[in-house]
């Protein structure tokens, strides 16, 4: 376990030692800010207009949900940026030899890398909480909704990170790792829109919809924790971490 933390700590420090770490925080929080401003503006406008037109005013929960769905979108760009270097850069610089010749297992390396990228993004997520908290302070939304949404986003993030690590472990080119991770995650996101056109109403559609990441977030965003959704994300992450482990281990006998 010590080796896992040693690797993770080095990676975290490396992320913030380079401009990359700052750039990720800058873009992530910057875009969140833009969205937040935009949504809040619309929210206020709609609230003011509602009595005039006799419609229903939007709720704070709706505002939060819109915010979190967009967070999910930004992650598609941020996740590949975090994971792209984790293995491919080490392989390109040959620094991976230091890990390979140390008395540690491939699993420890994978977990260390995973922990590092999860920690960096968890910190970014924690910082982004300033926007929902702003709403919480000045309004009275359902507090548990914010918590479950963050838990959902965190689980989703872990699953996506595992996918990104797997892609990164297979290439020595950071850019390729970025590209493939981004398109992979995007595909996962749009699967439930694609599903009906694949085989409407069939088993295939059910399966594809289950694999798609978006549907599993809905419950979290409604303030509910369901075992099946948590299981989905945990299994997703575990599966791709296992794949990464296989890729890494196979380098010993290839």
């Amino acid at each position: 376990m010590n080796a896992v933390f040693t690797i993770a700590w080095r990676d975290i420090r490396a992320t913030f030692a380079s401009p990359k770490g700052c750039a990720i925080f800058f873009f992530f929080l910057g875009f969140m800010g833009v969205f937040f401003y935009n949504f809040l503006h619309t929210f206020v406008e709609l609230t003011q207009r509602a009595p005039m037109f006799g419609g229903e005013a939007p709720t704070l929960e709706q505002l939060l949900r819109a915010l979190f769905y967009n967070l999910h979108f930004i992650l598609i760009l941020v996740i590949p940026a975090v994971t792209m270097s984790s293995f491919s850069e080490e392989r390109r610089n040959q620094t991976i030899r230091l890990l390979q010749t140390s008395p540690i297992t491939a699993t420890q390396i994978v977990l260390g890398k995973f922990l590092a990228s999860a920690a960096v993004l968890a910190l970014a997520l924690a910082c982004s909480a300033v926007y929902p908290l702003f709403i919480k302070v000045f309004g009275n939304p359902d507090g548990s909704l914010i918590l479950t949404s963050y838990l959902g986003i965190f689980l989703l993030m872990c699953a996506q990170l595992a996918f990104g690590l797997w892609v990164s472990s297979m290439t020595t080119n950071q850019f390729m790792a970025f590209l493939f991770t981004m398109f992979g995650l995007f595909l996962l996101l749009i699967l439930n829109w694609l599903a009906p056109s694949v085989n409407s109403g069939g088993l295939m559609e059910t399966v594809l919809k289950y694999v798609a990441s978006t549907d599993h977030l809905d419950m979290f965003f409604k303030g509910m924790l369901t075992v099946s959704d948590v299981t989905y994300f945990v299994c997703f992450a575990a599966l791709f971490l296992f794949f990464t482990n296989v890729v890494l281990d196979s380098q010993r006998w290839r």
Partner: protein, 326 residues
Amino acid sequence: MWLGLAEHKLWSNWGFSRMIEVSGLSKRYGAVQALRDVSFKVESGQIVGFLGANGAGKTTTMDIICGCIGADSGSARIAGYDIMEQPLEAKRRLGYLPDVAPLHGEMRVADYVSFAARLHKVPSTRVQQQVTETLERLSLGDVRNRLIGNLSKGYRQRVAFAQAIVHNPEVLVLDEPTEGLDPNQILHVRELIRSLAGQHTIILSSHILSEVQNTCDQIVIIHNGEVVQQGSVAELAGQLQAVRTYRLRVAQNVDQLIESLSTMGHVLSPRVVNSDSCELEFGFSKEANEQLLDDIARMVINGGYGLRGLAAQTRSLEDVFFHITH
């Protein structure tokens, strides 16, 4: 941990002396056969030079010994532990300096070395002490807080060295440790390797013969993925001493001289080296004694060829290497 220590003590108590044992390694990269049945053994405390031209298979062999890549067949054992079967036990006793130094440019020297120490399971209470000792030993104390990316090549190589020895491994594998260093730094690295001998078993690869000749006890010569020669430095040089060659310069009639030399016993393959300057070369067989040289000199003078020069050709490992690989 305790078990590992106890085992280690047992081995040394029983006089377990074979630190590295490589047997029948083969490796193929697609169509290229990189290694073919490579076997050698290194006794405890020895320095072994692993000699070969570029692309001969040195780095591949070292990568396999250190468990970075796998072999198609054959095995490598470090202190009795198979690198594939018991990688953790084997790697605990191993320090590796790859051909491309595995350095993180954004880390500080001391941080990097202590990272390597932690990875190699140095107890956390001793990390600080061992890092300081290692840095002092490699005269890196002055740069301990500098970023590795800003260091010069010589310093970087020493940092990479520090990474390999910080955990006091029993076996050290050094892949071209002096590559790209200036002559002063090369001397420094050689001294360092010498100073590590005895307490560590060292394999060191190089394509520079003088380096191996100066630092190593044993030499393994590899060519096109095969071990073509192995033995001590003295043995290999002695093999060539058995065939002595001389160079002779005369004033005229080289061709005629060659003919008369060919008819003499114990003179091997006389040939013209340069017909303009009338230089020729010949060898002596093992049975010939030095008297034969007098006879030849007499023949040159009496025959009116005009003696201009006669010199013994010095042969070094350079020649062994050239001889074997061509």
